[in-house]
Symmetry: C2
Subunit: 192 residues, 2 copies
Amino acid sequence: MSVQERKERERAHRHQLIVATARELAESQGWDAVTTRRLAERIEYSQPVIYGHFREGKREIVGAVALEGFAELTAAIRRAVADGPAGRAAVAALAGAYVDFAGRNPALYDAMFLLDTGLPFAVEATPAPLREAFGTLVETLGEVAGDADPAVFVEVFWSALHGLVSLTRSGRLPREAAAQRLTVLVDRFAGG
Amino acid sequence: MSVQERKERERAHRHQLIVATARELAESQGWDAVTTRRLAERIEYSQPVIYGHFREGKREIVGAVALEGFAELTAAIRRAVADGPAGRAAVAALAGAYVDFAGRNPALYDAMFLLDTGLPFAVEATPAPLREAFGTLVETLGEVAGDADPAVFVEVFWSALHGLVSLTRSGRLPREAAAQRLTVLVDRFAGG
DNA sequence: TCGAATGTCTAGCAGTGCTAGAATCCAGTC
DNA sequence: GACTGGATTCTAGCACTGCTAGACATTCGA
């Protein structure tokens, strides 16, 4: 194994270490606690090494965490609908998985859907994990779109889920009755 | 008019000047550009004077801006439904007004629904402008709730609107087809 | 006019994201 | 094994952030 390969492996490992450390810090203490100084301390290098891996700085790190999140969201949704539920059961399963995912990974969710990451959505350059996540939503929900364009329908349903999640998390909707709100939403979107 | 009254008038004026300046800066350059140094420069006092008005610091300033926003949102929605539209027309008018309000006042909207302001929602201590805004939504939409609790129904519809607005603004939903998404949402919620 | 209370300012703290250039290390060549 | 050049990492620092202690200035009542 060449010196070059070993160097590349070390670099990739360090890159992943930074991303994992950022995510850990974010989930335990919030994104405000994730600073490049703290990441550097945690990985036992100086700050400029962080910038050697992420040329666009902190926002690129948040983007890298988000990418992981999309892969995991896709997996969570696929597991939720693995039994092949149809109609309302599919919508409910997907909605439940989405809200559960957001609840278990609040900082990851913020990286994916709230914070500025620079990741392009819905264009040619959109990274594969993002496309795949959205594609999974369309696969699952396309059949209940009725007259609406399935992609547009999915965008609207996703928006509603995102709205419930983010308003609840920021304290603008009470946590009580969250399940009831989800039921109302599923009823409205699975109704035909 | 007493010295005390004049002092209080001056203080109230300065307080309002800080809030208005924060909002102007936020709408023109984003909330990141709103710093207490810049606000102080703009109002021609030093930084500690800002803290003399807002003991909780910047987040209290953002909250003050948000309060104004709620009053304006209420007015905008009331204007949109002043003709007394019913059923789907009422839902559409309200949804259009909400999205339009968010589009015209992006930073104000962020203060209201994204940023940490410390303002309590949906509890005893919730400020009147917030209660009034929500009450206006319930007044307008309550009749189309069908079997659902009107307040819960309104929470869900508002979440969906918020989701559309915030995902579009952050570039996660394309601006194209925004009107189409709104139509799909209104159809789902006005459908009975 | 004076003194106390109030209001405002200066100066500074601890932290942020980020980078230039110095220092160190590594690997290839002789 | 030594040397050299390139790569990597570090130190030091910049410009900025939110915020505050104590000094200074102003105001107003007696």
